[in-house]
């Protein structure tokens, strides 16, 4: 097997003194792999993926992303962040900038692209998420589903090697979940490395190479979607699945 693009080795993290949120995490992600992370709330799923672009700092263990070890070294963090796109539950678009400006911001200021090139790249990504006609609008003038697709396009403008999704459909109205998942499925089929925290089991079955189940800061179980959903190995996973699939 090739060297993994992301590898966690005995990673630990605490919030404050007594909340041990990540416990001895060992995980390696191959290039192009699509991973879905699920588990009950408070199990550390979001924290795990937020460590990958250092929105959260881990306190023990080694975390290597694309050959760079994450530490206090600001240069290393900057380099990693250029390789990692992130999509948030609450979209986190910049409300004072138009859709197009949201997308060109990082390419122009971080990537030092000329404005014209940045805009071309932005329009191409907006086409990709099928929302190019909204480029001149402000985020709050769009529906939730449209905003999340813009957020995906914004992350893609970095031309990242890795995409992180932190519950991308949890804040959406039911009618809008599909349009976002469709975009994510397309993306998954194009070979980008994806880590996605979600409870959308249909999405997991359709695209994931591996499902990771977390509870209380640990990786409890990992398997192919088929095996995980049909033959969960631990009682904890069985219990969790019976709750989310129970009705």
């Amino acid at each position: 097997m090739n060297t993994p693009i992301i590898s966690f080795e005995k990673v630990n993290k605490w919030y404050g003194n007594d909340f041990h949120v990540l416990r001895d995490i060992d995980l390696s992600v191959a290039k192009g792999e699509r991973i879905v992370i699920c588990g009950p709330s408070g199990s550390g799923k979001s924290t795990l993926i937020r460590c990958i672009n250092r929105l959260e700092e881990h306190q023990q263990g080694r975390l290597v992303v694309d050959g760079i070890e994450l530490s206090d070294d600001v240069k290393a963090i900057d380099t990693v962040r250029k390789q990692v796109g992130m999509v948030f539950q609450q979209f986190n678009l910049f409300p004072h900038l138009t859709v197009l400006e949201n997308l060109t911001l990082s390419p122009m200021w971080v990537g030092k692209l000329p404005k014209k090139e940045a805009e071309e790249r932005a329009m191409a990504q907006l086409e990709r998420v099928r929302i190019a006609e909204q480029a001149a609008k402000y985020p709050l003038q769009l529906s939730g589903g449209q905003q999340q697709r813009v957020a995906i396009a914004r992350a893609l403008c970095l031309t990242p090697k890795i995409m992180l999704f932190d519950e991308p459909t949890s804040a959406l109205d039911p009618e809008m979940i599909k349009e976002v998942l469709d975009v994510m499925i397309e993306l998954a089929n194009q070979g980008i490395t994806m880590l996605c925290v979600t409870h959308e089991m249909g999405f997991a079955k359709a695209v994931a190479d591996r499902v990771i189940f977390m509870d209380q800061g640990q990786i409890v179980e990992q398997n192919t979607p088929d095996q995980f959903f049909n033959h969960p190995q631990t009682d904890r996973a069985q219990d969790f699945l019976s709750k989310i699939l129970g009705h």
């Binding site: 948030f88 910049f94 004072h96 914004r154």
Partner: protein, 366 residues
């Protein structure tokens, strides 16, 4: 069974508000017993008071600059005082024959201010225009290069008010930004320093800051170094205003959701890029009314520099009337005159801030 075809009801315009003047009166002034009673009381007071004011200010007022004609008790306002003293009020102790210079300087400064308010001119060259404009202003006021020299302690009236207000606002704003960011810094030394600064300045009245700047500060300076009183006073007002403004801006910073900073970080933006492109534009947009409050307060606080013998507009009025026994009784008219000048500037600032508010909140409109 075929599904029933859903027919949506076409959108209709909202009903037009009806009622005209009578409807408005009934709705707003005589809606129930309480509003009716308060309308009658306030209306009665206005009816009783306004005619007296009109009588004093217009009907029985005397308009010509003749102090003797104003003496009889039945004469109301004596507006002649303005015609007689306006040059002293507007230009203070500036040498009389040279007063075209502060006049040109004032017009220049006001033009610069108006130009700076127009969005079309928000270009890099505007900064150059300011450097040039201020250079001209100081040359006209101070003299040299062909003009006779006039020291800063002779400056006064409106040009001094405008200069103090403009420069202290222009310097206080960036300082306030830095202090507001500093108070939220992750570095304890910077945070403590900024907090200390804000608390110290807010703990003392502006008058005492001006006193310190003007009288105490020179005592600590090495013998022979002399900093112009104007500069010391400017520094005092700037430091004072920035402390308050920093707190207003900090309020805006705290209202920015954490997700905005996280999104910027995930896109690779540095701390300063995040502040400049993401946090400050949104935070400042939220606190436009508060900041404009500060600006207006600074404009009027410049009147306190009189106590350190700089005779800006308010001080110049005192100077103009106190020295003349004939006109001394007509201070009220003089104060009304400068009140109108202050009001014109402050009202313009307040209207402008409404426009700025609309402009910066465009993304929030549906």
């Amino acid at each position: 069974m075929a599904a029933r075809v859903f027919q949506s009801i076409a959108a209709r315009p909202a009903p037009v508000r009806t009622g005209g003047l009578m409807g408005w009166l009934r709705g707003n002034l005589f809606a129930d017993v309480r509003t009716t009673v308060s309308t009658l009381i306030i209306g009665g007071l206005l009816l009783w008071y306004l005619p007296q004011l009109f009588n004093w200010a217009v009907w029985t007022a005397y308009w010509l600059p003749d102090a003797q004609a104003c003496h009889p008790v039945e004469v109301g306002a004596c507006w002649g005082v303005v015609a007689e003293k306006y040059r002293l009020i507007i230009f203070g102790r500036y040498p009389f024959e040279e007063q075209w210079r502060p006049l040109v300087a004032t017009v220049l400064m006001m033009t610069l201010l108006v130009v700076s308010c127009v969005r079309l001119f928000w270009k890099p060259w505007l900064a150059g225009l300011w450097v040039l404009g201020l250079g001209l202003f100081f040359w006209l006021m101070l003299g040299g290069m062909g003009l006779s020299r006039v020291e800063t302690d002779r400056w006064g009236g409106l040009p001094l008010t405008l200069l103090l207000a403009t420069l202290s606002i222009a310097m206080a704003f960036p300082l306030a930004l830095l202090v507001a960011l500093g108070r939220r810094s992750e570095l304890p030394a910077i945070r403590t320093l900024c907090t200390l600064y804000v608390e110290l300045i807010r703990g003392v009245p502006l008058i005492s800051v001006l006193f310190m700047a003007s009288f105490m500060f020179p005592l600590f300076m090495p013998q022979g170094t002399k900093i112009d009183v104007l500069i010391r006073v400017l520094a005092g007002i700037t430091l004072f205003a920035a402390a308050y403004m920093a707190e207003v801006i900090r309020g805006g910073l705290q209202a920015i959701p954490k997700g905005q900073v996280e999104a910027a970080a995930s896109l690779g933006l540095s701390y300063w890029q995040t502040q400049r492109k993401i946090v400050l534009p949104q935070a400042l947009a939220m606190v436009v009314p508060g900041i404009m409050n500060n600006f207006i307060a600074i404009f009027k606080d410049t009147s306190l520099v009189t106590i350190v013998s700089l005779y800006e507009l308010t001080g110049a009025l005192g100077l103009a009337l106190n020295s003349d026994a004939d006109w001394r009784p007509y201070k009220i008219e003089g104060y009304v005159f400068i009140a109108l000048i202050y009001f014109a500037f402050c009202f313009a600032m307040s209207r402008y801030s409404l426009w700025v508010e609309r402009e910066v909140n465009k993304g929030r409109q549906r």
